[in-house]
């Protein structure tokens, strides 16, 4: 099985895109291996061709480009934790990166890899949704940026075309007064896959919740935004009544399932409580 898998190791992005174009739909991309190697060991991996992107040093960067935080496709979670730009522009991504597995996973796993893997429980995906991040993708046909909110199209399915790969994640700079939060609830902080994971972005001034964006994982077949709850609470006076209303609304809007990690009932309650905790911190 493992012996029958061929690996191509491109040295440049252009070489990688050419390989992808030749083998569209018939190859699997490898970066840090923290998802792929588990699938391989489980026997869930069926591809006969792996394209190992790990030598594409040109895609391993974290930088600020005018009004965006740009995270190259090969940047690891450890790279994010060491970047002053991430600390400044996406503090909730720091909270998240510290709880992705543990040190050995953070040293190998990449943010772009988590995006491509598109797990509904993926730790950082709610952040990208709540931040209206862009997923920059490339193929031999050119480069385009897909909004994170349009990227996750079904259970572990993305908007990537078969010949495309992610080249960067683009997160808009914080606006004045914006506050951010990320919280995973699991059996323990390290190593666990989320029972429920939320990312929140909000602006509150003079006791009014001006705007809010809510990204949720483990709440449906894809990580998702919750537009009903966002619309219900935005522009409202931020008091205990609103917080209770927000809690109830989010618990009703998410659509989690019972599985081996948790129950739908627990997940609904926790989602509401995490939102309520965040809103209370803004008052």
């Amino acid at each position: 099985m493992i012996a029958s898998i061929n690996v191509v190791i491109p040295r440049t992005k252009d070489a990688a895109l050419a390989t992808l174009a030749e083998n569209a739909g018939k190859c699997t991309l490898l970066a840090g291996g923290t998802d792929l190697m588990v699938a391989l060991e489980d026997g869930r991996f069926t591809s006969k061709l792996v394209v190992d992107l790990s030598r594409l040093t040109e895609l391993r960067f974290v930088r600020r480009e005018s009004d965006e935080l740009v995270i190259g496709a090969l940047a690891t979670y450890t790279d994010l934790l060491r970047s002053p730009h991430v600390a400044q522009m996406a503090p909730e991504l720091v909270l998240c990166a510290r709880e992705v597995g543990a040190a050995a996973i953070q040293n190998r796993g990449t943010l772009a890899g988590s995006v491509a893997n598109a797990s509904p429980a993926g730790d950082p995906l709610p952040v990208l949704l709540a931040r209206d991040a862009g997923i920059e993708v490339a193929s031999v046909r050119g480069t385009r940026t897909i909004l994170a909110t349009q990227f996750f199209v079904g259970y572990r399915r993305t908007a990537l075309a078969p010949d495309e790969m992610i080249t960067a994640i683009r997160i808009p700079a914080p606006k004045v007064g914006e506050r951010f939060y990320w919280r995973k609830v699991g059996t323990r902080r390290a190593q666990s896959i989320a029972k429920m994971v939320l990312a929140l972005r909000a602006t509150a001034t003079n006791g009014t919740l001006q705007a809010i964006a809510i990204g949720v994982g483990c709440a449906g077949p894809t990580p998702l935004r919750t537009p009903k709850t966002e619309a219900l609470v935005a522009g409202q006076r931020l008091d205990k009544m609103l917080i209770d209303e927000a809690r109830r609304s989010l618990a009703a809007e998410v659509a989690p399932i019972d599985d081996l990690r948790s129950t739908a009932v627990y997940r609904r309650r926790v989602a509401g409580n995490v939102l309520a905790t965040f809103l209370a911190s803004l008052t």
Partner: protein, 152 residues
């Protein structure tokens, strides 16, 4: 695929399938059985090794990603039969019980101390959060790392 890699400072050449796990190459091809397999899916840390100085799980590394790399396993921490200060403090503090997690604990502790020579208890616990001890001997493991950090 022909892979040239350094293991504990010695150059090795292996001819193996590119997606073979570093863990299997170490244990089966190079007979370095100090590195253990626990879960085989990156959860337990028993197979912790250093890849170019960075802590990784050897079960999650396809060998094709190690061509030209330097690997350090638990066998590389001691100087022959002379244990490192970290290993000696694991012995003196009782930081090993059944022993299955010990090689991974040692390598992860070694990586932590390389980066943070004087870690707080919280930093030790976070640095070792990816290493499970099913004997639950964590208190003594943390004490061993603290003692090693305090050893000049």
């Amino acid at each position: 695929m022909k892979i040239l890699l350094g293991v504990n400072g010695v150059s090795k050449t292996v001819e193996v399938a590119p997606m073979r796990r570093l863990l299997d190459v170490l244990r089966l091809d190079l007979a370095l059985t100090g590195t253990k397999e626990g879960c085989g899916e990156g959860e337990c840390g028993a197979c912790s090794v250093l890849l170019d100085g960075v802590l990784v799980n050897a079960c999650l590394i396809p060998i094709c990603q190690t061509d030209g790399a330097q690997i350090v396993t638990v066998e590389g921490l001691s100087n022959g039969a002379a244990l490192s200060p970290l290993q000696r403090s694991f012995v003196s503090e009782g930081g090993a019980q059944c022993g299955i997690c010990t090689p991974g604990m040692l390598v992860a502790s070694h990586a932590l101390l390389n980066q943070t020579p004087h870690p707080s208890e919280a930093q030790i616990r976070e640095g070792l959060a990816g290493n499970l001890c099913r004997c639950t001997g964590y208190t003594k493991i943390v004490a061993a790392v603290q003692k090693a950090a305090a050893t000049p």
